[in-house]
Amino acid sequence: MVSTILEMRDITKTFPGVKALSNVNLSVEEGEIHAVVGENGAGKSTLMKVLSGVYPTGTYDGQIIFNAQECHFKGIHDSEHKGIVIIHQELALVPMLSIAENIFLGNEHARYGVIDWNANEARTSALLKKVGLKEDPKTLITNIGVGKQQLVEIAKALSKEVKLLILDEPTASLSEKDSQALLDLLLEFKRQGMTSILISHKLNEVNRVADKVTVIRDGRTIETLAKKDISEDRIITSMVGRSLDDRYPPREPDIGEVVFEVKNWSVYHPLHAERQVIKGIDINVRKGEVVGIAGLMGAGRTEFAMSLFGRSYGRHITGEVLLKGKPIDVSSVSRAVEHGIAYVTEDRKTFGLNLIDHIKHNITLANLGGVSRHGVIDDLGELSVANDYRGKTNIRASSVYQMTGNLSGGNQQKVVLSKWLFADPEVLILDEPTRGIDVGAKYEIYTIIARLAAEGKAIVVISSEMPELLGITDRIYVMNEGRIVGEMPAVDASQEKIMRAIVRGEGKAA
């Protein structure tokens, strides 16, 4: 006899200016594995945060009914108390504490504040056995791999008398083997009667374990498929079925010879020396061309770009970079910049801006030589450069003396862009150039990109938003798990084709 364990009705959640979820419905039956799929930014994680109380009751509209009771969670504590446990994409373990300490963190077996370590470790051993992890409870988290860390997270969830286990992209950073083991474990839990929600965009995994699939797109539930209807094609169509409109400025591409070429580029993880993050990538970009790199989060696109840009990511980097047919040295950021390469980061607050300084100083930072002589800055020259770029990129601020920390996301992005435009690169790598900025500012950024291409620059755009890539690029590389798994002219490309390349490429990467 099946009964519904969870029902989310008409969930609507708005952030200032954005409707993240609108009238989403999700119904999960007891003892099933229910997959929730959708593109990046479709609203999957937001939905799970509503469910687990990260966004407390009152900050959203709609009903949550769990075990036939309407729930009003004020925080993660309330939902865990009911037996809903979520394991986030970024693992929340303390690296320098042991497995046992992590599992019972904040929940220790203790009397009057004195911890009973024997009880903790005995229980930990039992839990580790359940998840099939053969490690000493005293082992430090930092000494075990990501796959095992994921199992520790699950053991931690089990320690809380879990009734509904939610896994947010659990295999995103796992190897093929670890992923298989994790999925097997999920199936084993299911046999024991546990209900789980699996959030994933790896459709082969969903195909393998899920009993039902709910597709979310643009903050709406599109459909829920039963086991017999699940197929990759069906899911893909459902995930991307969105039309392109005129959100992109028109452009007449004038494409010349190859300017920038990368050959057989390989990079290893900076901490886990055995993990190869980038696996022999070849790409090229022509003069005046906008080339897109599509892929899902964790495909290695940012890592690829940053390793190209002065080895800012990874180690044991091998491969060749050619500018106009000649090999160039990009082993430090200053050398890469000298050769005319610029990288506009996806994370402007962490990597792009000095937030406690004003616009003027940020714009000239990458090319101080351009406003100075013999190391002495020409104050007025700098001011006119800053004002010039403020006009060109339409930065809305009271003056160039405004702190960048006080600007909106779109304007911050324009400051970072201005910084690199002033460095006058030939090759411009833009990593998620429109992440987290509003539609109007997006259009302005697209216009700038189109203008740069018209000026003859070679441009690479990394983006997780497929419509954006289709709208502004001339050619698209599809990347997955550190490889290029597809290449197509933008006119022939479609979201379905890109998604297909990604999910088909999944198996090859093992």
């Binding site: 910049v337 000095n354 937030l355 300084d357 100083h361 990458a366 190391g375 800055i377 809305r396 779109g410």
Partner: protein, 430 residues
């Protein structure tokens, strides 16, 4: 504060006029911290002028004040850059002590022949200081060992070497007069004195000390040149900005600032001139302060240090070699610590094992009172200098008042805490 709604600014004349009052207000508020600090220093000086019944501003005391605190200010210039770049240096007091001992050994004990000349010794000492800074900076910059730990180790190491060099607890001296002039000397009066009021002669035919009024004209002339240059550069910068169509700070504000600054400077110059002239160490300090203001405000290397302190990752991804820059900041700190050590030794006339003991805390306090942020990226040279003088005036004033040394520390601690709380409060309000 979001500015998404602000209209796209065009530099039309009409808008400029509209913006004028706003610029005036913003010029005031952005500089409030600096003005406030200078006002605080003046208030503290006036306070002690009364409580010490007029001793503080006496020419002889002003000279003392400068000579006692100059090493703090010299080291604060280096510490400012260290703190702006997001680090700390706890070793400066010990390095200063060690360099003082080294200088004394070279000049007095070791048979170095012509190499024991004070100038040669000083140059060698500055190089050694730079090398010490490089040794510490290397671990901090290239191996990412926290500066707190590296320089804590340096603090122990160099205090130990200092004491060992001096052979346990003894002091080494006396140092040659030529060397002592660095701290206790006054600039030679090449123009000659000008006697305004002849000194009174007593019955025995001797002059009564403190009577009469004789001015050291070289000091007066130097002071006038400095003030005129200050006003001239201020004006020419304004003109240049206006010629290029940029708004400068409002003219009345500029005039008031220049007049008040000049009047204060001239008052101090007059006081020095009526005693023995400009102390050499004040001249050294003045040159260094101007240099560091220029480096931090106008040079690319200064800009890079601020960028690195504000966001090291972003600076690195903008092509700034943050490791090398960090190393250079510590080399600079080492050189200035060495200079501080030379100044201490020159003032005492000998090297003592406890020279500079605990001064790292005064130096760091000066920089933080001066408005630098412990997170890095924020801080001004002038702020650190004024912060140093605030500490110095409080030391001096309380000593004259006869306040117990223990309580002096309590008061200094409270002032440091108060200054930082004021900063944080202001920042949150903004």
């Amino acid at each position: 504060m979001s500015t998404e709604s602000a209209p796209a600014p065009q530099s039309s004349v009409a808008e400029d006029v509209q913006q004028r009052p706003r610029i005036a207000v913003s010029a005031l508020t952005t500089n409030l911290r600096e003005y406030g600090l200078i006002l605080a220093l003046i208030a503290i000086m006036v306070f002690f002028q009364f409580t010490t019944s007029g001793t503080l501003f006496k020419p002889v005391n002003l000279s003392n004040l400068v000579q006692q605190n100059s090493f703090i200010i010299v080291m604060a210039l280096g510490m400012l850059l260290v703190i702006v770049s997001g680090h700390i240096d706890l070793s400066v007091g010990s390095v200063a002590g060690f360099i003082g001992a080294l200088a004394a050994m070279m000049m007095v004990i070791w048979p170095l022949g012509p190499l024991s000349n004070p100038l040669v010794v000083s140059i060698i000492c500055l190089i050694v200081g730079g090398a010490i800074g490089a040794a510490q900076g290397y671990w901090i910059a290239y191996h990412r060992i926290p500066s707190f730990i590296v320089t804590l180790a340096g603090m122990l190491i160099f205090r130990g070497i200092c004491q060992a060099l001096l052979g346990g607890g003894s002091s080494v001296g006396p140092l040659p007069d030529g060397f002592k002039a660095l701290s206790s000397g006054f600039i030679p009066d090449v123009i000659g004195p000008l006697t305004l009021i002849p000194p009174t002669v007593n019955a025995a035919g001797k002059t009564i000390i403190g009577s009469g009024l004789t001015l050291h004209m070289t000091t007066i002339v130097l002071g006038l040149i400095a003030v005129l240059a200050y006003a001239y550069f201020g004006l020419s910068t304004r003109r240049k900005r206006e010629r290029h169509g940029y708004e400068a700070e409002p003219f009345p504000l500029f005039v008031i600032k220049t007049l008040v600054g000049s009047a204060l400077a001239l008052f101090l110059v007059y006081q020095f001139a009526s005693y023995r002239g400009l102390p050499v160490v004040l001249l050294v300090m003045g040159v260094l302060i101007s240099l560091f203001v220029f480096v931090t405000k106008r040079m690319t290397i200064g800009r890079r240090i601020y960028a690195m302190g504000g966001n090291a990752k972003a600076a690195q991804l903008s092509g700034i070699k943050t490791e090398r820059l960090t190393l250079m900041v510590f080399v600079n700190m080492g050189v200035l610590s060495a200079l501080g050590g030379l100044i201490i030794a020159a003032r005492l006339g000998q090297a003592v094992p406890a020279a500079g003991l605990g001064s790292e805390l005064d130096v760091i306090a000066a920089v933080f009172i001066g408005g630098a942020s412990a997170m890095g990226g924020v801080g001004q040279v002038i702020g650190a200098v004024v912060g140093g003088f605030i500490m110095g005036v409080m030391n001096n004033g309380m000593s004259i008042m006869g306040v117990n040394v223990d309580w002096q520390q309590v008061v200094k601690g409270l002032v440091l805490l108060g200054a930082v709380i004021f900063d944080v409060y202001n920042k949150n309000k903004a």
